[in-house]
């Protein structure tokens, strides 16, 4: 099992630690509902050092990453952060990532914890005229999120004032980026373990609430964001997922494009769903329209902000907002309807 630089800090705070893809990570400190609320209404900090940043540099860095991912990278603004998906030739998803395009010759790819090794392998194996370096053995990542996050972080990093949403900046302490996974204002800091510990301690002294992976999941689900292994996977194409907006089929070329075009007419669809009957749908629950099985739940939870039971489903037919479906929870059909994403 692997630990982040902050493991003992989490333990000292009384965190409940879980095994997350081989990492000993804090699931919660005081409780998922309370931590969720802190991020929606004030500010919270997540240790996400298990995620991985991979550095790509060379004269054709942006073109190289552009050819490997579904979203447009080439020609974007300097210091832009772009959400994108890495596909295989067959159109299935290797990972969803944030590309930090520092300049045409320097990009970072930020991958999920569970995928960082294979993302590095994949990118390295295709590298031409670029140098691919994993930064994750030497650095950690903190996400500070919530309506009060920017004003607090500005006290520590005055440079933050000049960084707009979905942009980043290289500082002497690391990379500061206006990104996150909660749908709130916020930042992510990529820096040495030492700097991460220093910043964490400072945030604690300011009363910023530590938030675990439990609330991270309820926060992202309310915003309809994909979680790799649920909405995207080795068997789910990005065009079938809630991340379909990040696939630009009109791009001249990218790995997996032909397969995704081929899939267009027979692809499955993901929708946001609110349950009407009591119960909570979880991943793998079966979905029916009338008597007909049409798909499965990919993620489901109780939404702490809406106080409703919500889920994302993946189904074969196209459905419209308001359509009624049944979700089988422990073999009992529960009435539910399709809503527009995000939930919140």
């Amino acid at each position: 099992m692997t630990k982040t630089a902050l493991y003992s800090a989490h333990k000292a705070l009384g965190a409940k630690i879980v095994d997350f893809h081989g990492w000993e990570m804090p699931l919660q400190y005081t409780g998922i509902l309370e931590e969720h609320k802190a991020v929606r209404e004030a500010v919270g900090v997540f240790d996400v050092s298990h995620m991985g940043r991979i550095e790509i540099s060379g004269p054709e860095a942006e073109q190289f990453i552009d050819r490997l991912t579904t979203n447009v990278i080439t020609g974007k603004k300097e210091q832009q952060a772009i959400y994108s998906v890495l596909c295989r030739k067959d159109g299935t998803s290797i990972d969803d990532v944030i590309v930090l395009r520092h300049s045409p010759v320097s990009c970072s790819v930020v991958s999920n914890a569970s995928n960082r090794e294979r993302v590095f392998q994949h990118i390295s194996s295709l590298a031409k005229k670029v140098i691919v370096t994993p930064s994750y053995m030497q650095e950690g990542i903190l996400a500070v999120q919530g309506p009060q996050s920017l004003s607090i972080v500005e006290e520590y990093f005055p440079e933050l004032k000049d960084i707009p949403s979905m942009r980043c900046l290289k500082l002497k302490q690391g990379i500061l980026s206006r990104t996150g996974y909660t749908g709130e204002k916020g930042i992510e800091l990529f820096a040495s373990f030492e700097e991460i510990e220093r910043f964490w301690k400072w945030l604690m002294s300011k009363g910023v609430k530590p938030v675990g992976l439990g609330a991270r999941d309820t926060l992202r689900l309310e915003k309809g964001y994909a979680l790799y292994g649920h909405e995207l996977s080795d068997t789910i194409a990005p065009t079938e997922s809630v991340s379909a907006w990040a696939v630009k089929l009109q791009k001249e070329t990218f790995l997996g494009k032909e397969a995704l075009i081929e899939l267009e007419k027979k692809k499955r669809h993901q929708y946001g769903v609110v349950l009407e009957d009591p119960g909570i749908a979880r991943a793998e629950c079966k979905v029916f329209k009338g008597e007909e099985p049409i798909g499965v739940v990919t993620s489901g939870t109780f939404s702490p902000s809406l106080k409703k039971s919500i889920c994302i489903v993946m189904v074969t037919p196209e459905l419209a907002v308001g359509d009624i479906i049944n979700i089988h929870i422990r073999d009992k059909p529960c009435r539910a309807h399709i809503v527009q994403l995000p939930f919140l």
Binding site: K16, G31, G279, I280, T301
Partner: protein, 117 residues
């Protein structure tokens, strides 16, 4: 009060008994947001799944510590499932049962034995 290996508690009151989940179990589950209560009047056997607790992260089955007929359920939990987090071994009780085989109670753990585990 007696406990099961599967983290329920049971308290006898004559031929009836009250059942809930232990304080340890509620801490492990985290915030409970929904409970599927058992039906009043149904007959259950010891070890049957009688209801389900849903926390923000997962669902957990509740097993009946003894056999019998369910005589009452804690309706308050429908609106306030968090009562289980606040008071698992008192106000957060789940159901009452008319015990059909009192000898089953003898096999259960006492508080000391349970909390040693």
């Amino acid at each position: 009060m007696k406990y099961t290996e599967t983290h329920e508690w049971i308290e006898e009151q004559g031929s009836a008994a009250t059942v809930g989940v232990s304080d340890y179990a509620q801490k492990e589950l985290g915030d409970i947001v929904y409970i599927e209560l058992p039906q009043k009047g149904i007959q259950v056997k010891a070890g049957d799944v009688v209801c389900v607790l849903e926390s923000t992260k997962a669902a957990a089955d509740v097993y009946s510590p003894v056999s019998g007929t369910i005589s009452a359920v804690n309706e308050k939990l429908k609106e306030q499932p968090e009562l289980i987090n606040r008071s698992a071994e008192s106000e957060g009780w789940i159901y009452k049962i008319q015990v059909s085989s009192p000898q089953e109670l003898e096999k259960l753990l006492d508080k000391k034995e349970y909390y040693k585990k």
